[in-house]
Subunit: 90 residues, 2 copies
Amino acid sequence: MSFGQTFKALSDPVRREILTLLKQGKLSAGEIGSHFDMTGATISYHLSILKKADLVYESKYKNYVYYELNTSVVEELMVWLSDLKGGTQE
Amino acid sequence: MSFGQTFKALSDPVRREILTLLKQGKLSAGEIGSHFDMTGATISYHLSILKKADLVYESKYKNYVYYELNTSVVEELMVWLSDLKGGTQE
DNA sequence: TTGGTATTTAGAAATATTTCTAAATAGATA
DNA sequence: TATCTATTTAGAAATATTTCTAAATACCAA
């Protein structure tokens, strides 16, 4: 994981919306795609960016690929931001 | 402020290092530039991105332009990330 | 005013990103 | 096996980003 990669992943509105959808729980690539007016190939591209940034992980069942939020990386970002702000609890 | 703009600003390593330098306090554009092996024009470009993202604000004194961290936007990002993770205090 | 220092703007080149269409792969079922 | 559905990969086009050099602007000081 690199902060650059993670922040870049979060800079795109489609990817932020995918992550918001995944707050609800695991979804397949197709279910995610149905929320957007884009081709499956484009959604697959965005999912690959989120995966490389470790913001999601994937699991396979039958011929579906499911994606799920990885909250631990979100926490690492919060720590970095908190440190930037100047101290953990102020 | 838009989250997209702010996350994009944070995705670049030079800009993250500038913000880290500014944890110490206010610095002029030239002082910031002296920490990098880049032209002043390039530093000015990065500062403009940080300014548009509201991550820094600037003040002028004599013929210097000083930059300072704006922590309130950092807090807004933390709130967004915290919500993504699912709840404020868990 | 003239010249000096600090910073930004303009324009160009190299590279990266986002999207599409078309083709490829993976796995399920008839 | 043959075929269908779900998803990813490849390649291309449009756009955005990052950096530079050169020029412009801003402000101070002699």
